[in-house]
Subunit: 196 residues, 2 copies
DNA sequence: GTCTATATATAGATAGAC
DNA sequence: GTCTATCTATATATAGAC
């Protein structure tokens, strides 16, 4: 079972390094050191860096989807669940474990590496669209709300918010963008239920 | 003058490579080959890769600001200028020359490399907020429009739209997010001038 | 200003002992 | 399963000739 444990540690170390340094910035040597595993060990369990990266990216993508679903499945209005999703984000300056990899040309060029990214964002947009649709059906938003487009905008604001925050060196811009989007969504809610 | 020309070609080659492969993925060797310059030439004009990268990032940032201002300074309503900015984007799958660098840890860790990114997005958010403010003053939007927050959301949707598009392998998600945001903004416009 | 030679470190992996 | 030795290529630069 020690072997299985080593394989798991190698994948986890790769996940961390991919998050921090991207694919091109992650070396087999760094993975081995962080996992506390030797070279022979790594090449015994995995075919090499691309093989390890594929396992790591699949796992990170699954974790991101799970974390998002945990927030979106909570009780509350659609507006409240969207707000919770936008404000759930932590460690803004670290960026997104999955979205950050889209910047790497070697990732987008490899179908097996890119697939988990595509699946994650397709799923997330659909999940958010479902939440918005529930809200619209319940009269929370006006009937004209473009649920699919709004869902795509929400996901984009989060991913772009990371870019703005990392560029600024502080998390402020992430929250400004998220709050700005929520305020726009509230205008739609106000139309459905005019203020007293 | 040949030296000046070589220096310019080195900077331009570095700009292209930073856009395509990021900082960590760009080698001095690749820069020299793309610029058609020798090693001695490169190290005569620049102190090394970080020095060259600083010049290249500053130039790319200035070009991005110039291109954005060209669109935002055009004639038309605020809504129309925001739409023009969102739809101006080309070559979506290549991403943003400036925002893409925010993913690189070596870029955000170097104050001189990160500064042009911070300046670009601070300027862009302010420029968009000004456009929205003009629209609000002219009665185009309701008085409750959060111009600064909306501006941040617009910039984030563009940067995040690139992430979604590159993840998907096709530009569709970029445009879906942009259209979704515009539709939300239109709800605010509709409140200012109720539909007949 | 540009060229070629040289130098150290790391990337990424294979081979074979244990 | 893990370890050490070894290997080729590249990253990133410096030195000094021309």
């Amino acid at each position: 079972m020690s072997g299985t444990d080593t394989a798991r540690r190698l994948v986890e170390a790769t996940q961390e390094l991919l998050w921090e340094r991207g694919y091109v910035g992650t070396s087999p040597r760094a993975i081995q050191q962080r996992a506390g595993a030797g070279q022979g060990s790594m090449y015994h369990h995995f075919g090499g860096k691309p093989d390890l990266a594929r396992a790591a990216v699949r796992r990170s993508a699954a974790q991101v989807r799970e974390a998002a679903d945990a927030v979106l499945a909570r009780e509350g209005s659609a507006r409240e669940r969207v707000r919770a999703y936008l404000e759930r984000e932590r460690e803004v300056l670290r960026g997104c474990r999955v979205g950050g990899l889209a910047q790497d040309p070697d990732v987008v060029a490899d179908p097996e590496l890119r697939a988990p990214l595509a699946e994650t964002f397709t799923w997330l947009r659909g999940r958010l669209a479902d939440v918005l649709e529930e809200g619209r059906a319940g009269g929370e938003f006006g009937p004209g709300l473009d649920t699919a487009g709004t869902a795509a905008a929400i996901v984009a604001v989060v991913q772009g918010g990371y870019v703005l925050a990392r560029s600024a060196g502080e998390p402020g811009p992430f929250h400004e963008a998220a709050d700005g989007l929520l305020a726009l969504l509230d205008a739609h809610a106000a139309r459905a239920t005019p203020a007293s």
